[in-house]
């Protein structure tokens, strides 16, 4: 659906990372974890295209004063990387934004008797919070959050509040373990008693490593991809990702916006 949203809050949660809460129509409450929105940053032609953002959370705000109607909302977590996101970060409460969404195929919540292992890198945590919120209702959930520095480890308190056990790793050692977050994931997999399922979102290198780990250990794994996209509705075909049968001779592309952004890792092509 397409709607005009009013910004309820827009705050920097870590240097360069922002969290925005916007009003949403009641139907938005049924957004599934992993879905995304396309945001038109302004009504001018620069930036021209909408920007895609994962849905961080959805909810309903009940105002303190009596008589005011409950207001459904959604949240986005975004990193300022270019002109569009820089402009978003300057917007204030009551500013309006044109939104398309929720779009795409979200995460499959899987079986409740699995241990859920969520792996997020930097702003890749964005679509994983709503996922964690759903998963904790039925299963034990662990989060493995990685980043270059402590500034890239976002909203861990929120995950902890859900009852998620959190592991953090940074490349410079400024928070948590020093190194890659996949180390902690591997240790957990070694100690695993029963079944598990992996959910990941973050830089492509991290997803590649996680997908390979999942394949080696025969563990179901879903990844959420990013893609340069113009439309978000399957028309521009800009955002495709190579599927598992892909080769230069016989290309096999999957459309990130409509077939994804969440894929079973086995559906996609990875480097060994």
């Amino acid at each position: 659906m397409q709607f005009t949203a009013m910004i309820l809050s827009n705050a920097e949660v870590s240097p360069g990372y922002w969290r925005m809460r916007l009003t949403a129509p009641p139907e938005f409450a049924s957004a599934s974890p992993g879905q995304f929105v396309m945001v038109r940053v302004n009504n001018a032609i620069d930036p021209l295209l909408r920007r895609p953002f994962g849905v961080f959370d959805v909810g309903t705000h009940t105002p303190a004063h009596s008589g005011a109607a409950a207001q459904p909302y959604f949240e986005m977590l975004y990193r300022v990387v270019g002109k569009g996101t820089a402009m978003l970060s300057t917007l204030h409460e009551t500013d309006l934004l044109d939104i398309l969404g929720p779009l795409g195929r979200g995460f499959d919540l899987g079986d409740s008797d699995e241990e859920k292992l969520i792996v997020g890198g930097g702003v890749g945590l964005a679509p994983l919070y709503l996922l964690a919120r759903e998963l904790v209702k039925k299963s034990p959930v662990r989060l493995f959050a990685g980043g270059r520095t402590r500034d890239d480890i976002l909203c861990i308190t929120e995950f902890e509040r859900l009852g998620v056990e959190c592991y953090t790793a940074t490349e410079d050692g400024s928070l948590g373990e020093c190194g890659l977050v996949t180390e902690a994931l591997l240790r957990r997999l070694d100690a695993l008693q029963g079944r598990a399922s992996i959910y990941a979102c973050g830089p492509h290198g991290m997803l590649n490593a996680v997908a390979n780990i999942a394949a080696q250990r025969g563990i179901p794994c879903q990844v959420s991809l990013e893609g340069y996209m113009a439309c978000g509705v399957g028309a521009c075909l800009g955002c495709v990702a190579p599927g598992n049968r892909h080769s230069a001779e016989t290309p096999d592309f999957r459309c990130v916006c409509t077939e994804g952004p969440v894929f079973e890792s086995g559906e996609l092509k990875w480097r060994d």
Binding site: Y228, C231, A235, T250, P251, F253
Partner: protein, 304 residues
């Protein structure tokens, strides 16, 4: 009184002049949630080839000021899947659906035109002549008047449906191309296709697009498109569909003044999937506000 918004495109009656451009509107179905397809004049489906095409590696698109570059590589489902999976939807919509198509050889163009001619749900054909002529050493059909005329003649011979030829702006003399296509039997010309461009990532010292170059579209190209439509309109008798950076009703009406009978909305549909519907409604409002009874009176009415 409501203004008359209907136009006639080489025998094809349109409820209004606003169409969607090939490659920006999928096969129509993708936009049904956002657009009432029965409020626009016509829609053009994603370019079809004989065999399915997977398209280019990524990155395939990049935004630049006022526009975007794309190098999708003509990814499409191929004519067989189009007939099986996409045509049933076209049947459900009371708006002309125009099939855009392309081949690597004249024979491929003719085969596609002949097959599309047999599909009752396809109201008209739009020939994309901007792809390389494999047999003649990679010359783009759309940049050589004789090559273009050969394609148009071959398609004309196998279809009685309205035959639209989509012209490339990447030529020295667009008028020569237009005349060649008209003489070869085109019922209608649509222009412009995207302009070849590129973007560079300074820090990586690499092209942004995997394909290095791409087709430039969006509001930045409108002045070039308007100029070409104006030049071609003066030179040919067949109706013209104006395309290039149309973002709103003002843009669309300017193309009509320059000589276009209809327009196609492209990149704007990516930004606002309901753009074509909005533009048609706003054009009608402009006519009402300005006391114009019939939109056809604006075609080529530029005072120059």
């Amino acid at each position: 009184m409501k203004p008359d918004m209907t136009v006639n495109l080489a025998g094809m009656a349109l409820r209004n002049p606003v169409m969607t451009a090939s490659g920006t509107f999928g096969y129509g179905e993708e936009f049904a949630e956002y657009v009432d397809l029965e409020t626009i004049g016509a829609f053009v489906t994603k370019g079809l080839s004989l065999k399915p095409r997977a398209g280019n590696p990524t990155p395939r698109i990049v935004e630049t000021p006022g526009g975007m570059l794309n190098a999708i590589g003509l990814q499409n489902v191929g004519i067989d899947a189009f007939i099986q999976k996409k045509v049933p939807f076209l049947r459900s919509v009371n708006t002309p659906a125009i099939a855009n198509f392309f081949g690597n050889t004249v024979d491929e163009y003719a085969e596609l035109a002949g097959r599309l001619d047999q599909i009752p749900e396809v109201a008209a054909l739009e020939v994309n002549i901007s792809c390389p002529n494999v047999k003649q050493g990679g010359i783009v059909f759309g940049t050589d008047p004789d090559c273009a005329a050969g394609v148009v003649r071959a398609c004309r011979a196998v279809t009685k449906k309205t035959l639209i030829v989509k012209l490339s702006p990447n030529v020295t003399d667009v008028v020569a191309m237009a005349r060649a296509c008209e003489d070869a039997g085109a019922d209608c010309l649509s222009l412009i296709n995207t302009l070849t461009g590129m973007a560079i990532d300074l820090n990586k010292r690499r092209p942004v697009l995997a394909n290095i170059t791409g087709g430039f579209s969006g509001p930045a190209i409108k002045p070039i498109a308007l100029r070409m439509v104006w030049q071609v309109a003066k030179a040919v008798k067949v109706p013209i569909i104006g395309i290039g950076g149309i973002m709103n009703a003002t843009d669309a009406l300017e193309f009509m003044l320059a000589g276009a009978t209809a327009v196609q909305v492209g990149t704007a549909s990516f930004i606002n999937p309901g753009a074509a519907q909005q533009i048609a409604a706003d054009m009608e409002n402009w006519l009402t506000d300005n006391g114009v009874a019939d939109i056809k009176s604006l075609i080529g009415a530029l005072q120059a």
